[in-house]
Amino acid sequence: MSKDLHDIDDLFSSTLEEYKEMPSPALKERLDAALDKQEAEKYKKRFLIWKRSALLLLLLLAGFVLYESGIIKKDSGNYILNRSGSGTDQSPVNKKEMINNNSAGNTSQIDINTNNPDFKNENIPVSPNQPGNITSGASSNTGNFNSYHPTKNPADQQLNWYSVKQDPLTSVIISKSTKKENEDTDYGNFFQSNKNDRPVIDKRINISDLTNLLTNNILSPQNISVSNSPLKNGSNEGSRKKINSPFRPFWMLSPFVSYDQAGYQLDSDEPSAVNSIKFREANEPSFSIGLLLGRQLTQRFSLQSGIVYRNTVIGMKPQKTYAFVDPTGDVAYKYITSSGYAFFKPGFGPSPNVGDSLTTAEAKHTLENISVPLMAKYTIVNKKISVTPGAGIEANFITKKNLEVDIEDPFNREIVVIRKLNGTKPFYLSFIAEADIKYTINKKVAVNIRPVYRQAVSPITKNNVVETFPRSFGIGAGVTIKLR
């Protein structure tokens, strides 16, 4: 019998070893189609990094554009003398110096020396309590303001300054309102710019005279007294017009901690797989902690980004697992979760064969990720309380996938810790919406409560029985520090 059996081996081996058969022509076509598909996938993967880079650049560009728009607005609010000559230098320092407090409300005079070659700025400060002169050199006969004479006297910086804004038709003199003047309406709100920067137009200054002086040829130095009457605070409400202050964009730093109730949305062609996972998995309370950096671009709009660490815990009920051949060729029990699957072998008992089953006790699945949100936000202010709803996207990088499975039989008990999950993507995108409720402590600090909702827009799984889209609702608390 044994010889017959080996004869069988030889019979089959000798007959079939060199056996050839032509496959059907359709196979070649299918093979070509599969090769085309493979190449297309390679092509897609090749451009994936470019697509992601493009998305990132787009976001950065959007942020930059918004930021720049805020800067432009700020510049347009500076009350400086418009350029009418060939001067090009507009030093920001000079612009700031153009507007100072008018705490004393005294008489102002103008001191302009257009003959001084050192003064190349067209901005003209008006210094009070000083001999105010407008002088013009013989060579200057255009009437344009091409020189700026900054006061070197430190005492002047404590007093009233005026700036002159000239348009093609006329010039206006702008004085600043005093801090004291605004104290009664200053709530110290986080989002309002400094009231000291608020300028008013003082119509009592003789604008036409000044315009004539500045636009006509002045051949010899002469003193010009703009006004000799004292300018008292609060005495000219009827003739004073407030102009909206230029908003200065600022940065905000917001550390926070949040309690999250996480969950997920499962998609699959197999409803039984979805139901099975939903039955055996239950999200436990999770948390997130982060540091957000915001840029208040206007009084209403801001952009916010930062870095957030999130820890999500999912409890697992006991389940029956089956042995499969794992990707390394070994046979192990396959443990399926909503965010991937893992292969494990208990330390006790015989090695499993394909198809063997093992019932596990409870298990705990932990997911950790680092997220980078980018949100556009709109602020609604009511005195000391502000509400800032916002929405945006969040890039999530899964940094840790941990599965602790409790296995026990009548004689053994073991906790298997699995640190590698198959079928989990390292990156996914989420939509994020939040409403930041702030209470202003002072001009620099506010405390906040932050309800947040996140919903993944791309699955965290790949080649798993289900496609999983995590979502969470969290309540966070933190502080916001205003930076300049």
């Binding site: 017959d4 059996l5 069988i8 081996d9 019979l11 089959f12 081996s13 007959t15 079939l16 070893e17 060199e18 056996y19 050839k20 058969e21 032509m22 496959p23 059907s24 196979l27 070649k28 299918r30 093979l31 070509d32 599969a34 090769l35 493979q38 190449e39 089956y322 499969f324 051949v325 060729g329 070994d330 046979v331 064969n353 394909v354 198809g355 063997d356």
Partner: protein
């Protein structure tokens, strides 16, 4: 070279008939064999740059085909444990041309009628020269199971051959 479609076509035309013979032994049907062959050639074209020239090129391709067949077997059998089969319970082969002598085609049909577990072990042992330990490692089964499956496969084939011979004799 990996992406040269003309080269791939030439390679396919050169080795496809021989490799089809290999795949037919591991498969239950011609359709399944063609699926294995397709998967195998996809791997060949993808990894051809990794062939270092150690051993024959045909041997390298053949190994890929065998692995493709084993991969398929692993996937399909993963839901069921390997079970022993009572070889006494099998009926005669229906689709075999018993009026002619036992040629390669008939022997191939006999191999294809083996249950998957037996067929794979028989192929690996007889045609690829694997030891039972190696078969056990490749399939994720014990050495004893491999021996048992081979023994049952031989008994099954012997019985079928005897039936065929008797039928031919009576004819």
């Amino acid at each position: 070279m990996a992406g040269d479609r003309a080269f791939q076509t030439r390679l396919y035309n050169l080795f496809a008939p021989k490799m089809m013979g290999v795949c037919l032994r591991y498969a239950r049907s011609r359709e399944e064999a063609e699926e294995i062959l397709q998967e195998g050639f996809l791997r060949v074209f993808s990894y051809i740059n990794t062939f270092k020239g150690a051993g024959s090129f045909e041997g390298w391709i053949r190994k890929i085909m065998v692995n493709a067949a084993l991969f398929r077997y692993r996937n399909k059998s993963s839901l069921q444990p390997v079970i022993r089969l009572n070889t006494a319970g099998y009926d005669a082969i229906d689709n075999t041309d018993i009026s002619s002598n036992l040629d390669a085609k008939e022997l191939l049909n006999l191999v294809q009628t083996l249950p998957a577990g037996y067929r794979i072990v028989f192929n690996l042992y007889v045609f690829e020269g694997y030891k039972h330990r190696e078969i056990g490692e490749a399939l994720g089964i014990s050495e004893g199971t491999s021996k048992s499956n081979l023994s049952d496969a031989r008994a099954f084939l012997q019985k079928r051959l005897l039936i065929k011979k008797k039928l031919v004799h009576y004819k």
